[in-house]
């Protein structure tokens, strides 16, 4: 019962949060001078006032602020995210078109970074002053401090231009023909460089955190007890210590879901990855309010879902979490 109650309260918070995100952002977008009519006219090479007025009237931008806000919130309540002025398409369609690409990129990068990060962290924690440990530290520092657009361009120059292993941009090569397998392989080829770029950032975080918590756990009493029992080093590390050192890493991974959009924007821009990050960036530039708000709405949903998943994962590795049922 307590669990259900907790769940309901959290859902309520989530709804309030979503509403706040929308109202606040709608107001902020409205405060800035100029609007989407200007960017539409820019895309058309200029338009006179009559045409601008027509565009504003068409999209209801000539209405008072509260009327616009009320209309928008009314639509959202009916699960209608509105119509993109700039792309001439329903916002939900735009987002659903782009969402899979972003999820594919971010999840692949996250999972690989998490896996490799934990392994690297554990390796370096076992011999904190060994060569391997220093190498991991260096790698982590480099991955964390190098700006992603720089890493991205460097990888492109190395692996798309000098050694032509991977394609420059996009998610698939439309000129190739073949079955599902050919296309999946093609997407995988396009995915490699963006995943390395985005993953290197996450990898740094995970490997450092895993190393730190692992070292802490290895110094704890029960590990000494386990060793005293005569278990091998390997059994101690992988059976006992690892599980206990994982929960901070999983918490961090969960928090990183909030970086789904923000982290992907730059990587998507460099690799012309047709995802939500690119769409978000372009709609902000274009002042396409309905699209921006729609993306924020979706990212808020992703963050909330991510937090819930994190909770579940923590329950699995650490029975103390949410234990009283």
């Amino acid at each position: 019962m307590a669990f259900l109650q907790k769940f309901l309260i959290r859902t309520l918070y989530a709804v309030i949060l979503l509403a706040a995100v929308l109202v606040l952002n709608f107001s902020m977008m409205h405060l800035a001078p100029g609007d989407v009519a200007d960017t539409i006219s820019q895309s058309m090479g200029g338009a006179d006032e009559e045409v601008l007025a027509q565009i504003r009237a068409d999209y209801g931008l000539d209405q008072p602020f509260l009327v616009q806000l009320g209309r928008y919130m009314g639509n959202v309540l009916q699960f209608n995210l509105g119509y993109s002025f700039f792309y001439n398409a329903p916002v939900t369609d735009l987002i659903l078109e782009r969402l899979p690409a972003t999820l594919l990129l971010v999840f692949t990068a996250q999972i690989l970074a998490l896996g490799i990060g934990v392994v690297l962290g554990v390796i370096s924690a076992r011999r904190p002053n060994g060569i391997a440990s220093h190498f991991v530290t260096m790698l982590a520092l480099f991955g964390y401090s190098a700006p992603v657009f720089w890493t991205g361009i460097l990888l492109l120059i190395a692996f798309s231009l000098k050694i032509q292993w991977f394609p420059v941009a996009g998610m698939r090569d439309v000129t190739i023909e073949g079955g599902f397998f050919t296309h999946a392989l093609d997407v995988a080829r396009h995915l490699v460089l963006p995943v390395i770029t985005l993953g290197s950032l996450f990898l740094a975080l995970y490997s450092r955190l895993a190393r730190a918590t692992m070292m802490e756990v290895l110094g704890s009493d029960y590990v000494r007890t386990a060793k005293a029992k005569g278990l091998t080093e390997r059994e101690v590390v992988y059976k006992h210590a690892l599980k206990n050192s994982l929960s901070p890493v999983i918490t961090l991974a969960g928090l990183q879901f909030s970086a789904v959009i923000s982290g992907a924007v730059l990587v998507e821009a460099v690799f012309s990855w047709p995802g939500l990050g690119t769409l978000a960036f372009q709609s902000i530039i274009a002042r396409d309010t309905p699209t921006i708000l729609g993306i924020l709405f979706f990212s808020a949903l992703v963050v909330i879902a991510g937090n819930l998943l994190t909770d579940l994962a923590l329950r699995l590795v650490d029975p103390r979490v949410g234990g009283k049922r």
Binding site: G34, S41, N88, E97, I153, A169, G170, A269
Partner: protein, 524 residues
């Protein structure tokens, strides 16, 4: 009845065939051309969406009455011939009889009349068809445009992407004003151009394939065109270099242009931008403070070194432009005041205007910029004017709409600005200088410039059908604006087209990629 370009018309199809036979190599049939676009396409229907991005796919999907060769001479396209009446008030188009839309429906004069209505109701360039009062359709293959006044600008306005003929049976199901949001603008698009739409995934690509029933026999040469959307200029550059992309246009960054010029199998050319006519200039608000005085504006022109902009900032990729008309246009007048750098003269002019040095400056001004690419130019203006005692503060705008709002409301002293000619001066030049267009949004006469003679010249040139007389009027206009400096013209935007050795006959005419590329082919 006086027939314009009559000789040319009798030779109808021959003209364009000769253009291709001039190329030594025989065009090859087939192949997939991979090209690139720098931004998303907002709308594929070029009858309601202008601009350089829609121009490329738009001109492949939709045909226009005329097309132009490299020498600004109109060529037949959907119209196999055309006549302008003696008084200039009737333009008769004789359409080809075998033109079909991609769904098989024949294209008729009704579609021409419908398209003119749609363009008039939706297209942002109101000046193009404003004098067209009605379109008569005496038979299926004759369309007569009735004009309220002679309108020589119509010739260019009937070419490129500006007059896309769209099918009435597809787009006629809504009132004409609503065609701009018609669902068929982005999917299942039906035109009569050389290529038809296969797939449009916004943010990713536009895929077109050969239209087998295209009205010009044997064309187009290509089987398929893939337009990839790659917004990052550095990634585009790598795609040209490693051969993933055959061709792209509107490359703008000097650093990238110069790098690509060194690549062996690539050609990088500034040809093909005369009609789009992109210009960079320093706008000055002639209604504010010291800038009201023409001597102050001249002093600024003498203090700002164009060569620094051309050589240091543009790294030699851009050419000088002295007036509001693009240097490639036949109407360009190079013989106007050029303002060679002369700091003493600048200081003397400022003294004369009543702004002596007071401490270490005379007065202060602001300069705006609308996008990050041109920030260095504004920083340079600040440094250059410091030397003659004008304090300049560079004012950044958060984004394009913020800047556009400031410009539209004339809330600025100086600004770096880029404005396009869009073919005839009536369409894209007049708007900056005519006094009836003061402060009507961004890219209007935001300088608040007003000169009776300029107004008179622009109005006379707009209705003058004799080419030489028209040129003389525009020459005088350019002399006056170079003298009075509502804007100080600096350079043409360094747009470049990049293509690799496999591309035969790339589109380098006056409209660049905003033309049908039915004559472009891929070599072995």
């Amino acid at each position: 009845m006086r027939t314009l370009f009559k000789g040319l018309m009798t030779a109808t199809a021959l003209a364009s065939m000769m253009a291709t036979s001039a190329i030594a190599e025989e065009p090859k049939q087939g192949g997939t051309l991979v090209t690139v676009l720098g931004t998303n396409v907002r709308n594929l229907n070029s009858a309601v969406q202008s601009g350089i991005v829609t121009g490329f796919p738009g001109a492949q999907l939709f045909a226009s009455p005329l097309r132009y060769d490299e020498n600004w001479t109109p060529q037949p396209y959907l119209a196999e011939s055309w006549e302008v009446s003696e008084d200039g008030l009737k333009v008769t188009l004789n359409l080809v009889k075998n033109a079909k839309f991609h769904d098989g429906t024949p294209l008729t004069s009704k579609d021409v009349a419908f398209s003119v209505d749609v363009i008039k109701a939706n297209h942002p360039f109101k000046a193009m068809f404003a004098p067209v009062t009605s379109v008569d359709t005496p038979d299926d293959y004759t369309a007569v445009l009735n004009l309220s006044q002679p309108h020589p600008a119509l010739m260019l306005a009937m070419s490129g992407q500006l007059m896309s003929i769209i099918p009435q049976h597809i787009y006629g199901d809504v009132p004409v004003e609503e065609v701009k949001t018609h669902p068929r603008n982005n999917e299942d698009v039906v035109g009569s151009g050389p290529f038809k739409l296969t797939e449009f995934a916004n943010g990713q690509h536009v895929i077109l394939e050969r239209f087998d029933d295209f009205f010009i026999e044997g064309r187009p040469y290509l089987d398929k065109i893939v337009m990839r959307i790659i917004p990052d200029p550095a990634a585009r550059a790598i795609a040209y270099e490693n051969g993933e992309v055959h061709m792209g246009a509107f490359e703008l960054l000097p650093r990238i242009i110069n790098r690509l010029k060194k690549v062996d199998n690539l050609t990088v050319t500034p040809d093909g931008y005369g009609a789009v006519g992109p210009l960079d200039w320093l706008a000055m608000n002639t209604q504010r403070g010291p800038l009201k005085d023409v001597r102050v504006r001249k002093a600024i022109a003498y203090a700002v070194d164009k060569n620094f902009v051309l050589k240091a900032l543009m790294q030699g990729t851009a050419v000088e432009s002295k007036t509001g008309i693009h240097p490639d246009s036949p109407f360009y007048n190079a013989d106007v005041e050029a303002y060679e750098v002369d700091l003493d003269k600048a200081r003397a002019l400022l003294d004369e205007a009543g702004y002596p040095m007071d401490g270490d400056s005379r007065f202060s001004l602001t300069i705006d910029f609308g996008w990050a690419d041109v920030k260095p130019q504004t920083e340079y203006v600040k440094a250059a004017l410091k030397k003659v005692g004008i304090d300049v503060q560079v004012r950044a705008s958060a984004d394009f709409p913020t800047w556009a709002k400031r410009m539209g409301e004339m809330d600025f002293d100086m600004s770096w600005d880029s404005v396009f000619n869009w073919g005839d001066p009536v369409i894209g030049v007049q708007r900056t200088y005519i006094s009836s267009n003061i402060g009507k949004g961004v890219w209007s006469n935001t300088q608040g410039y007003s000169n009776e003679r300029v107004d008179e010249l622009l109005e006379m040139a707009a209705v003058e059908t004799d080419k030489d007389k028209r040129k003389a009027l525009y020459d005088e206009f350019q002399t006056i604006i170079a003298d009075e400096l509502p804007v100080y013209h600096i350079n043409a935007l360094p747009y470049h087209t990049v293509y690799n050795d496999k591309v035969g006959n790339p589109p380098l005419g006056i409209w660049g990629t905003s033309t049908p590329i039915d004559m472009t082919y891929l070599k072995d």
